[in-house]
């Protein structure tokens, strides 16, 4: 740190009447913006970069996998039931003779879609609630925080089950359920950031200039909370995917013949003893996906944390 400062001092020239020169000099001085700093730090963590690549790979699979798989997801073959992994069927076949590899690949789209959309909805709702709660305080704050506390009081899975019980099973309702229990986490997070930023000088300045509340919230305060939101987002995706597959496992999520990973695992439990591959591969798929989101999230958190220096 001290060396960089020395470098800056050396290159700094006394202010001239030419502002343009001053700017180019500043650029040459390699001033680091928070964003580039974060990216630099992130790139240094090899495993997070690998995780990110894996995630991008998964997204690619989700988009094009459907068209490239060797077998259809519902292509059954009653003469090839419950076969173990082979050259023809990389992950083996299931109880209807369907190729497990193709089903898992196509399930990527579903799991990612459910995980990402649920957390996105939760993040958006939570952020809005957090902003309002932190900025306005008073009654709004009390009500919102009370609701969040109540939601926090229940284990996530119980909450999800309750919601699915009322709305009915199926993936749409799973998304809603997971979004609902993700919301309080984001709300709390954004609220504390808002409380901190509310008093910052630049916010006071904008206020005194007559900026509207909405403008202040979204143009000034929100950007300050974004790094934490992003980190929480990636961590929540992992939980979201796990919860969705748990719900499918309990029979409340995806319905057959959807190749959702949790449902595939749930089917597999009847064949645990003889055809373990049906349980093994979907479980691995869930594991690696959630793992990569978590590692990526860790890397992001470390990169965005101003306290963690090299």
């Amino acid at each position: 740190m001290t060396e960089e400062k020395k470098k800056q001092d050396q290159t700094q020239k006394p202010l001239e009447a030419n502002p343009q020169a001053a700017i180019t000099d500043a650029e040459k001085a390699d001033i680091r913006t928070p964003l580039s700093e974060a990216i630099r730090k992130f790139k240094k963590q090899k495993n997070s970069v690998i995780a990110l690549c894996f995630i991008l790979f998964l997204v690619l699979v989700a988009v094009v996998g459907y068209y490239l798989v060797p077998f259809g997801i519902n292509q059954y073959d009653y003469n090839a039931i419950l076969q173990g992994p082979s050259g023809k069927h990389l992950f083996g076949t299931d109880e209807f003779g369907r190729d497990l590899f193709s089903r898992i690949v196509c399930g990527t789209r579903i799991s990612l879609a459910v995980g990402l959309s649920a957390v996105t909805v939760g993040a958006i709702c939570g952020t809005i609630l957090g902003l309002l709660s932190g900025y306005y305080g008073g009654i709004i704050d009390s009500i919102i925080m009370r609701i969040c506390d109540t939601l926090f009081a229940f284990p996530g899975i119980i909450l999800a089950i309750a919601i699915v019980a009322v709305l009915g099973s199926g993936l749409y309702n799973v998304v809603i359920a997971v979004a609902v229990f993700s919301t309080p986490t984001f709300a709390r997070l954004v609220r504390s950031r808002t409380l901190a930023l509310k008093e910052a000088v630049f916010v006071q300045a904008a206020k005194s200039m007559g900026a509207s509340d909405m403008r202040i919230l979204f143009k000034h305060i929100l950007p300050g909370a974004i790094p934490e939101i992003i980190v929480q987002y990636t961590m929540s995706v992992g939980t979201s995917i796990l919860t969705a597959s748990s719900l499918s496992f309990l029979g409340m999520g995806a319905q057959p013949p959807t190749p959702e990973w949790g449902l595939l695992l749930s089917n597999g439990r009847n064949y645990l003893l003889e055809s373990a591959h049906i349980t093994l591969f979907p479980g691995l798929a869930i594991f690696f996906t959630v793992l990569s989101f978590n590692i990526f999230g860790d890397g992001l958190r470390d990169a965005l944390d101003p306290k963690l220096t090299d």
């Binding site: 009081a153 284990p155 996530g156 899975i157 992992g238 479980g283 869930i286 590692i295």
Partner: protein, 306 residues
């Protein structure tokens, strides 16, 4: 201290009442008729109506509500629609089982998690850190039912060392406790690690080292002591969740705990049981929060109890 505790406990009561009322009406929103479920397969309409009367479900809703709430005051949680026994009886054995499982899981995972977290934290950036954190991040990424099945396959079926189900002997608690504990140990390890890293950078640690204390004393007597707060919060949170959130693990191991009772009660639309269980979960959570707060105050006298 005592006054504070009493105030907190009294403050819980209105919250709990709200929860009870909310749940009472919420469960009746769920589609499904408990009378028909209890009457079961091959029941004719007449059977269903007979059952409805015998369960008291033909009375108007306000009457049912009043009955339930007055019962609560007396400590009576109502009669289970599914088993026709008092809900208190249904819950009591399961509660004990869940408590035991929770304590065992929490104990081993807290110990392992803290140890792993400290170990990783003090060797930050080196291979110990990477290994420890790799294990931790894997722990939070594994679906619990998958872990459960793998353990059953390995230790129950192939090796025959441990029973697969139930809560009959102490042995039956081992596999579920491992399955539940994996996730918790991982979370605790991660938290402990960041906490230790933070405290290790504090001035008082440098002072302690400068004073010439051994590294071990520095770590455990100073850095860790101050991380204890975060660790306690995390462990406390997990405790709250374990008491009801072990639903999936209970399903895999056929463990007779509170989580599976909730699922069965929901499947049967057993209103009194569902209401009482949710009430108990909320109560537990509030109590644990209180205990954690009190522990906080004890560990860090600077925190004033308002």
């Amino acid at each position: 201290m005592l006054k504070y505790t009493c105030k907190r406990i009294l403050g819980m009561i209105p919250t709990l009442l709200i929860v009870v009322t909310f749940v009472f009406f919420f469960v009746r929103m769920i589609p499904g008729d408990p009378a028909r479920l209890v009457a079961g397969e091959q029941a004719t309409l007449e059977d269903v109506e007979n059952v409805r009367v015998s369960l008291g479900l033909d009375k108007p809703i306000p009457v049912q509500y009043a009955k339930y709430v007055t019962g609560l005051m007396k400590g009576d949680l109502g009669m289970s629609l599914r088993t026709k026994r008092p809900v208190t009886k249904e819950i009591s054995t399961r509660y004990v089982n869940t408590m035991k499982l929770t304590f065992i899981s929490l104990f081993w995972s807290a110990v392992v998690g803290v140890a792993l977290g400290v170990w990783s934290g003090i060797h930050r950036g080196k291979w110990q850190d990477y290994l420890g954190m790799a294990m931790a991040v894997s722990g939070i990424s594994m679906p619990s039912f998958w872990v459960g099945f793998l353990l059953i396959m390995a230790f129950s079926v192939k090796l025959g060392w441990l029973p697969t189900t139930g809560a009959s002997s102490w042995k039956a608690f081992i596999l579920p406790a491992i399955t539940l504990g994996v996730h918790i140990a991982a979370v605790v390890a991660r938290f402990t690690r960041s906490s230790i890293i933070e405290t290790m950078q504090e001035d008082y640690v440098r002072t302690a080292r400068a004073k010439g204390l051994t590294e071990r004393v520095v770590i455990w007597k100073h850095a860790f002591r101050n991380s204890l707060l975060s660790v306690v919060t995390v462990v406390g949170l997990q405790f709250g969740f374990l008491l009801g959130g072990a639903v999936v693990v209970e399903a895999v191991f056929a463990f007779p705990g509170l989580g599976s009772l909730l699922i069965e009660s929901v499947n049967y639309r057993d209103y009194p049981a569902i209401q009482s269980l949710i009430l108990i979960f909320s109560l537990q959570f509030v109590v644990i929060n209180l205990l954690v707060d009190m522990l906080y105050a004890y560990l860090n006298p600077e925190i004033k109890l308002q």
